[in-house]
Subunit: 129 residues, 2 copies
DNA sequence: ACACTTAATGAAAATGATTATCAATAAGTA
DNA sequence: TACTTATTGATAATCATTTTCATTAAGTGT
């Protein structure tokens, strides 16, 4: 009985999917609470981390405020707004060309398991304000 | 009298330089305390953030544990060890070729001010353990 | 359907990193 | 030397995340 299928985990995974836009754990928590009013924030953290470990989600390296989670697991890069911290996908695949794990491994001696390319910028909304 | 030249700020900037390897605020604090035993951790944070604002240092987007600071301000990328969190430079410039701010801006609508390319891996020491 | 084992949960406390507060100190100026 | 106020040190506050632990309920066998 290694693992159990619980309502909480199903709703959390589903909300991460539906929210789409790189929510923080707290944003997921608030969304889940609409369906499961008594859910605990600890459960949200536990489940989000579990999904990442299972490879069914990723966490976005953003460096501004709370950690953000991503339901996408394919390779793509992000833009972070330096003012409000929101994160968006940058879908165009071109940016990850030229990133070679073997080259990087040779250059630093680490065993490379992945990489993240994140742009820093100001989002349209914050440009106005 | 916009700004003052204090011993604390000089020693903190100097230690960030000397430590070299992307120290956390706490690591800088411990180094500075050897010369200035009564320095406050708040002062270390304040000064480190000031240096970043002035463009005399940068903070590395690492996503594992505490924030890390970098005395280098030129464009270069990093490797983070997923086990111990240490950060190293990946000096070879090739990895940042193909990263085009204008392309990214067009793709997402943000005003792009910079980018970070960070590899995730396992450092030599952790590979053995 | 019923009982049993234990993974998963909820609530709250604990931890860790960073920031805010505020009285005391000291850098730069007159 | 006196004065103004930026900066400091100490501490409390904040925020995100993890741990703890008693309680609940999922999956299993009967």
């Amino acid at each position: 009985m290694a693992s159990r299928n619980t309502v909480q985990q199903r709703v959390i995974a589903q909300q991460l999917m539906e929210l789409g836009n790189h929510p923080t754990a707290d944003e997921v928590y608030r969304a889940v609470r609409r369906q499961l009013p008594s859910v605990s924030k600890a459960t949200v953290y536990r489940t989000l981390n579990k999904l990442v470990h299972l490879g069914e989600a990723t966490c976005v390296i953003a460096g501004l405020g709370a950690e953000r989670f991503d339901h996408r697991t394919d390779e793509h890069c992000h833009v972070v707004c330096m003012k409000c911290g929101t994160v968006q996908d940058v879908s165009e695949g071109v940016f990850n060309d030229g990133v070679d794990h073997a080259d990087a491994a040779a250059a630093c001696g680490y065993e490379i398991v992945g990489h993240d390319l994140v742009f820093e910028g100001i989002c349209p909304a914050c440009q106005r304000a």
